[in-house]
């Protein structure tokens, strides 16, 4: 690696040195920033602006110049419902199904995941033997790719899979898990919690370990009960970390796509179709490619994410300052 790198760096040095002589040391900073800024500009900022144009134009052409202006009609189509709680009454019923699925999914997934992550972190924070080992056990699934996670569980849950074999053996009888809408949704929540829990456990554990020991010693001196110690010391001192974890989990939860798409394909029917899959299907998977609708839906999701991220940055800043 170094053998390729060294000559490469030497070659770059020639123009950089010439530039340095010409513009001086401090302005050379821009040269160092250039590649990154070009990439950010091309693949982050420019898309945000273009997204607005896509959202306001129709047709299935990808070139903006060839797209007719439709004003706010894409948004109107997405939001047109006689009753927003009932997707069947909506013009773009698939969008609302995805929205409600996502909301339910995020509530359940974030709730269970943060709950179990907290429980696991509290247990790992006890005086446990082989803590490092157990910590990495819970962390292990975080490294697996979404498709691998989906396939690992699909293999267990398939009709003649090992879970049904076990249920058969206990006499309960097998269930065709991924064909039943409610089971498929439940398992989607489960595999998502399974795959990501370790990450949040790690952050919460770090938060727990940052609580100074002497606070607990003082509580012990005052003969505070364990319950009281938990309520009055652990929870309040952990709450900034909890908040960050909660927001991070929400941001990621809203964007859930990969593992569920590989797991159920969004089905059965639309039972596990979430908002990003809606965007993907409208924009890229189906014909005609309705880029306008996909972009409009993206903007709505982006709005939610920006609010969540601002809250997160605010909290992290307060944590760092306080």
């Amino acid at each position: 690696m170094l053998k390729i790198l060294t000559p490469m760096m030497r070659i770059i040095e020639v123009p950089m040195l010439a530039l340095q002589r010409k513009i001086g040391i401090n302005r050379l900073a821009w040269a160092f920033l250039l590649p990154n800024l070009v990439l950010f500009g091309l693949f982050a900022f420019l898309p945000v602006i273009l997204n607005v144009f896509y959202a306001m134009t129709g047709g299935d052409n990808v070139l903006l110049a060839d797209r007719p202006d439709v004003g706010m009609r894409n948004f109107a189509q997405l939001l047109d419902c006689s009753n927003h709680f009932d997707p069947n009454s909506c013009r773009e019923d698939k969008f609302w199904r995805a929205v409600w699925n996502t909301i339910w999914f995020v509530v359940l997934q974030v709730g269970f995941m943060v709950g179990f992550a907290l429980l696991t972190a509290l247990i790992l924070n006890r005086d446990i033997r082989a803590r490092g080992f157990f910590r990495s056990v819970f962390f292990f699934p975080v490294l697996l790719s979404p498709v691998v996670v989906a396939l690992v569980w699909k293999w267990i849950l398939q009709r003649e899979g090992v879970l049904n074999a076990f249920l058969d053996w206990t006499g309960a009888g097998g269930i065709n898990w991924l064909v039943d809408a409610q089971w498929a949704f439940g398992w989607s929540v489960f595999i998502s919690v399974w795959a990501h829990m370790g990450f949040y456990t790690l952050i919460l554990l770090a938060g727990l370990q940052a609580i100074p020991r002497d606070v607990y010693d003082a509580a012990l001196m005052d003969r505070a009960s364990a319950w009281r110690t938990f309520r009055r010391i652990t929870l309040p001192l952990l709450s900034p970390t909890m908040l960050v974890v909660l927001i991070l989990a929400l941001i990621k939860g809203v964007q859930t796509f990969d593992e569920i798409y590989a797991f159920t394909g969004g089905g059965p029917g639309t039972a596990t179709t979430f908002i990003i899959q809606y965007i993907y299907e409208r924009g890229f998977a189906g014909a005609p490619r309705l880029f306008g609708l996909a972009a409009a839906a993206s903007l709505l999701v982006a709005g939610v994410l920006v609010v969540l991220t601002l809250v997160q940055l605010r909290i992290s800043k307060e944590n760092a300052d306080g």
Partner: protein
Amino acid sequence: MAKVLSFLTATRGKGRLHWTDWVSYGYLIFGVFLMFGPVVWLLLSSFKTPNELDRFPPRFLPYAQETLVVDGYDEPLLAFVVTEGELEGQTVGQTRRAAGRSEVVSPSNPTERVRLTTDQLEPIEGIAFATENYTQLFERFNFLKFFWNSTFITVTATVLMLLFNSMAAFALSKYEFRGRTTVLLLVIGTLMIPQTVVLVPLFLIVTELGMFNSLWGVIIPGAATPTGVFLLRQYMITIPDEILDAARMDKASEWKIFWRIILPLSAPAIAVLAILAIMWRWNDFLWPLIVLTRTENFTLQLALNSFQGELQTDWPSLLAMTVLTLLPIAAVFMFLQKYIATGIASTGGK
């Protein structure tokens, strides 16, 4: 409730284990089964023959029917033990089989063929790890191509990302220039724009740049990350400016200072970022799914997903491929898990 919490918060005294310790260890051991179990099951299953995979209920370890070499027969014969009749208890090889009847020979008397009904025979099986599922990947599918695509994307994107991000981090940590705050705010701004919400315009830009259906279309947009810039900047700030000044006195160029001094000194942070980048790129799914539509461009993740989507799921090949896909990451995990944990905790995993 109070009891539940008392065990969560209490720390163990010396000597005997408190009942709360038993519950804690119980929970953790259950965790080991829940987290490792499914992957171990996948691994064991991938070594089963297709026949064995179809078996319901499945067995834990892979088994295969043993074979028998009998004089006068070129191919090894499937081995059975006779359960009733004259030959009861003897091991025989099956030579032919039709409509519930089998023709068998005994290795001790290879010239005499005996006809038995199938229910008089029981197959002899032993634990055997079948590797056909794996070899088939190379014969029937373009596995090496997918593997190469994934590797190429991961390596190139990681190298580019490390170079670009460390250059930007160097500029933002070691130079006083007008507009620095603005640039920092811009970088924070990009944190708020996940790829998932700009898919459509990103697709246009990548297509216009001629990178649709090219591996570069996956590599380039991922080469600059705000997380990487932040992580490296935080680290580079701690490098004392005096070192830079000393080097400048010796007439070292700024670029030389960057790659001869700053980069080696930032090695720990760069290592953490490298591990994260490898993980992100190897596991990447949604963007490659949009950019790479031709089978010959598929990454392993895309190949896995498309094979399982076919009407009749080819589980034998799929299982083997899944194992090979998770193997590099599992290896990284085993050797570097300490760094991964700290790296992910410090970046918020983005």
